[in-house]
Symmetry: C3
Subunit: 362 residues, 3 copies
Amino acid sequence: MAPTTLGALARQLQSPGRLSAIRGAEQTPVHGVNTLEDAVEGEISFLTNPKYRQLALDCRASALIIARNEDLRFKVPVLKCEDPYAALTVATIHIHGYRRHPQWGTSDGATISPSAKIGPGASIAAGVSVEENVVIGKNVVIYPGTYVARDVTIGDDVVLYPNVIIYEACALGNRVTIHAGTVIGEDGLGYAPLNGKWLKIPQVGCVLIGDDVEIGSNCTIDRATMGTTRIASGTKLSNLIAIGHGTKIGEDCMVVAQVGIAGSAVIGKHVTIAGQAGVVGHIHIGDHVQIGAQAGVTESIAAGTKVLGSPAAPINDAKRQFVLIQRLPEMKERLKALENEVQALRRLIPEEGGSPGSEPGG
Amino acid sequence: MAPTTLGALARQLQSPGRLSAIRGAEQTPVHGVNTLEDAVEGEISFLTNPKYRQLALDCRASALIIARNEDLRFKVPVLKCEDPYAALTVATIHIHGYRRHPQWGTSDGATISPSAKIGPGASIAAGVSVEENVVIGKNVVIYPGTYVARDVTIGDDVVLYPNVIIYEACALGNRVTIHAGTVIGEDGLGYAPLNGKWLKIPQVGCVLIGDDVEIGSNCTIDRATMGTTRIASGTKLSNLIAIGHGTKIGEDCMVVAQVGIAGSAVIGKHVTIAGQAGVVGHIHIGDHVQIGAQAGVTESIAAGTKVLGSPAAPINDAKRQFVLIQRLPEMKERLKALENEVQALRRLIPEEGGSPGSEPGG
Amino acid sequence: MAPTTLGALARQLQSPGRLSAIRGAEQTPVHGVNTLEDAVEGEISFLTNPKYRQLALDCRASALIIARNEDLRFKVPVLKCEDPYAALTVATIHIHGYRRHPQWGTSDGATISPSAKIGPGASIAAGVSVEENVVIGKNVVIYPGTYVARDVTIGDDVVLYPNVIIYEACALGNRVTIHAGTVIGEDGLGYAPLNGKWLKIPQVGCVLIGDDVEIGSNCTIDRATMGTTRIASGTKLSNLIAIGHGTKIGEDCMVVAQVGIAGSAVIGKHVTIAGQAGVVGHIHIGDHVQIGAQAGVTESIAAGTKVLGSPAAPINDAKRQFVLIQRLPEMKERLKALENEVQALRRLIPEEGGSPGSEPGG
């Protein structure tokens, strides 16, 4: 934690948060960022969601980051920003910084193959295994219990949290972060049916992960049967996500927890996939597509489309369907009423050669 | 296993199972509890689900626990209980006991920081890492491969199964049990969009877990971005569950496998969430709410409500919707029939100034 | 990798791939199998999905495996097969082989109880724990960080990848493969409600896994409360799958990633369960049932049935329902139009004693 003042902080936020005004004493000391509920004196908090305006008024923080067009009057100094969320992020980085990792050097308790090459600045814990022909870049941190199989390549400034498993011949770019318990490059479900049994297909491909990718905990990224499973630079995955063999995910995507993407799918850039959604294999998802929570995507999706539902439909269609499903009881009643009405009308109508009220054919 | 007799066992069940009667020889030896299908002589079994009555009649157990109002006649002695499920549980505890953990003392193969404080009675296996400033209570068991990061606090009588990962500064209460492979306090998916890239927000909060919480295997509990993610006392989680950053779960909840709860959700007490259900972030779930399997909860829910479906609806509405969706083909047919009928009627009706059978406007 | 020639390879494929013809030079050298996109000279590729025919024509591979009835003309030699997928598999096995595991012998860095019995040919890595009374067969490979609790039995030729956890008293057959991070035999969610709290039921059963079972990464297989959870021979599970306590899965099933099967379910043989599907407890799924992705199975299913949807319905019903849900806006319009039409008709009909155009009752 680096204590600062509101004025110094404001200068940090000018460009990324597009600071538009500072209201209050620049010398106000700030030593932490916190939520509206938990902030205390000496901390700065933030109002980005209008539903928390009352909380913001009641907040005990010493200062607030607010949107430029927020017109509430606060007793404490405020920083008005065009992008308060970015401002908050930069303030948090400035004051708190990112996690500091233990400095293990290359621990005697690690099991490292003589043929592995490890760059300078490494921090490799006891209980790590690095197998033959592994190549590791500079300033890499590997926490306990992590296993790096033969022929894996790891770039610079990579962090592997505890108990990460990387199967053979996979490659990670620079500044990749993988959280505890995630498995990269295990075999996918690859079998051929033969005489009523499942014959295992050797999974001879690998996984390639681009620069600046972050992957959460307990995910599974299948190696390709042949060729590569690929996660392009800048993409972020949350936890408990399953990526099938041979799937390619483009740059700067955001994938929320418990999503599953089946094999040989091709996902574009800047795609957002919300929690528990599923994508079938062998389809193409265009750039900037947004897939809603629990959606079931069964067909390719054109760039820029937002989808929802299972099976997934364009978001407005899906929402209309949801509403109409809720109204099914009413539709059923109206249908029944119409049937009764029409039956009554039928009785009233003069048949050809007949008279009002006579029975059909009467 | 502690062999006993039916009479001794019956005395154990009086209060928790509300024993109402014992029918048969009190001296019947009982050395195990087993299912109706697998039980053999010397074991006691149980009938709590009426669909298994025939199995119970055919069962080879030496005794049965049954509901007070069960009127089947059994050849073997029975214990009639008002709460046969609680009785069964207490019988199992009495005869089999809970898992006995290995006694490792503090293994030489564990890596423990000199600044960590560990209470008396610990059993810490080889391959465990305990980092600086960790405080651990009495009688704690930590299995191999578990990693406890700096500044973590752990209460008394806690059990951490193998390969559990606890990130820095999280706190666990007393009698907490965490099963193999679960990750507590990893970073959530916290990024701010900035110039088309994702800027990582330092996750400076932590996770607080109350007393008597049990968490299954391979779960992921995100640390809060700021403040705390909280799981209150007595709550039980199954496996492969994802809890988002800043979410608060109340006392004595029951969360089934593969549930996902997004960030900043607030869940009340005694809430039940069935398998694969999802709850979006920033909403409030009242006490005693029951959420059905695969439900998708997108809005706050009042206390005591049961919901089902995706998007979730009150259970009776959801069930009616499910039925009506099944009847859509029939509704479509009825709609078509009505259209035909109305068209026919239209032809029969004397238009103003016209005659039956003439075309509209004819 | 074992380089070969097209002719030698063709002889390997005669039976399993039902080779019907070889077109081109038998002496063509082949040293790898690869995808249509990635194959280069010296590799063989394959065309099994007609949607990739153009890719196959453009492919740079030195040979292709194609279906017997494929009539495209290729510049490169081809192997025509009745079962090209099996042929491809056998070619991959022949040329690439399966993963070769490190030969650790029994590492000094492993922690093995003196009472454990380990068969000949074992390769057990540093950081493995094998507890008391464990019995392990021949030629077993155990990667680092794997924990085998007391009284576990493991057959011959088993492979346990890194960080697999097997709780006490479970049993694995021969040729079982378990991928990194999977947990076998942890406690299920077993509690009895007692005085507003959850009383833990000791989970005294175990897990039995048959021969030739392969389980992916980060799965959780609950031990039975009493008796056994069973996965029969030949069944294959992908990643992040949750199997409840006491569930029995039959022979040769295929279970895709993120599936959840609740406790005490009974699944037949050759059942296929697609990704993210859920099956409730205490039901029976017949042999050869196919359950679609994201399906929610709430009732027993007869053998041979294909189901889809949540709640699951026979596949044709489910597909019709999906279509009709999409048409709900249209149905609503038609209903409204009918209501208007009927109201208009009503006005035109001569009431008994009335006249066309008079108001109802007018």
